[in-house]
């Protein structure tokens, strides 16, 4: 197979499977379509993660390498938060206190793993230098945690009732992200020096703002398309107003409901 065809099949087609499978499993209401979506998502993800072996000649395979490098900490964080959340005050399916402790250990392990990828020798290296997509991912994630936790702090302040504890937690998470950015900007890691990290922080911020503005424009166009379409639709058929007999029947039923019947348990 030619290199371009190989790249199309193992990378771009796999990426399309991943996106299409995710959307199908998320939006479809038909059971078999949801299962097919999950299958496509899994197959696409596996194919992308295998690109360091299937497409070693392509620079895009560094993205697959990054995905593989992030699976470990992502699973630890995801499962860890699940364990902590569902061992709390949930009405059904409550997990035991042991699961809660395991959850805490997993979350701490996930955070340390990610930090170790910058501050220790766990940095994703592909093929013989720091993975260039890791240099984009790490500052983006730190900026994302800072922005989202600050936003959550704001939402809790505006609409939360008796949520001071959660507000403090969100403030703490935001501070931790800010601290990680500043420490990375002032001190060299074993594989990424501070100068390189600083330039990547600014490029990541440009990526994030650009992506948000672009997405906002797309949503505005989407809303505009739907509004224009809906305005062109004919008005629905109007029903005749109720006659005297129907009004009498309705008032009789309302009166019955207002009086109440036999009390439930």
């Amino acid at each position: 197979m030619e290199e371009a065809t190989q790249a199309f099949v193992f990378f771009w087609l796999a990426g399309l499977f991943l996106l299409f499978g995710f959307m199908l499993s998320f939006f479809s209401k038909v059971h078999w379509q949801r299962r097919a979506g999950l299958f496509l998502f899994g197959a696409g993800l596996l194919s992308l993660m295998a690109t360091p072996w299937t497409l070693p000649f392509s620079p895009s395979s560094a993205f697959g390498h990054l995905l593989g490098s992030l699976i470990g900490p992502s699973v630890l964080l995801g499962v860890g938060f699940y364990q902590i959340t569902f061992s709390g005050n949930v009405p059904v399916g409550k997990l035991g206190p042991g699961d809660r402790k395991i959850g805490y250990v997993m979350v701490v392990g996930g955070v340390l793993w990610l930090q170790g990828m910058h501050w220790w020798h766990l940095t994703p290296t592909y093929p013989d230098e720091v993975n260039r997509y890791w240099l984009i991912f790490w500052p983006t994630m730190l900026l994302g945690v800072l922005a989202i936790s600050s936003g959550a702090y704001g939402v809790l302040a505006m609409v939360g009732v008796q949520r001071q504890k959660e507000q403090r937690l969100m403030g703490g998470v935001a501070f931790f992200a800010l601290y990680s950015i500043l420490v990375g900007a002032f001190f060299d890691g074993p594989n990424v020096n501070s100068e390189r990290f600083v330039s990547q922080v600014f490029l990541a911020a440009a990526d994030v703002f650009g992506a948000l503005v672009g997405a906002l424009f797309a949503v505005l166009v989407f809303a505009l398309v739907l509004v224009v379409y809906e305005r062109q639709q004919p008005d629905p058929d109007r029903l005749e107003p109720p006659n005297a007999e129907q009004l009498t029947q309705a008032s009789r039923m309302i009166a019955q409901q207002m009086e109440g019947g036999v009390e439930d348990e």
């Binding site: 900026l143 504890k165 100068e195 650009g210 997405a215």
Partner: protein
Amino acid sequence: MNKSHPLTVLFRLGTFVLLPLMVALSAVWWFKGASGEGTLVRFANALLTSFTLMSFVLLFTLFVYGDARKRPIAPLFGMCLSGLIGAGLTVYFLSQGELLMEDNGSVRAQALSNIIRFGTTMIGLGLAGMVVAGALFSSVMSGPRNTILFEEE
């Protein structure tokens, strides 16, 4: 209860999200004196890529909308046009010499590189969202169950 105007709420929320980012970037810029070289090109590339890809993603969501609206063609056509305009603009601007080109040799390589970088950005933001949402829900579910007390009439 005092109800705020939706725009005021949006402005306050935007301030909560953007202000810490600005503080972090200003602090790094102030103390380290970064040149910021290439950020405008990155911003423009990210904007065009995001617009194009989001248009196609929203096009997919129209199939769900179509289930409730007798499968109309017009919105599908509208969003398809939007995505194609985004792709056309991307190719046009990338073809203008060095305007939006980074370390890639051809328009195709730059466009594909933009898509992969957009994917990396989405993974970074997705994992950030998972961490924040996980921490928030863990805390909410760990506390005592809140009860709503109604005042007696």
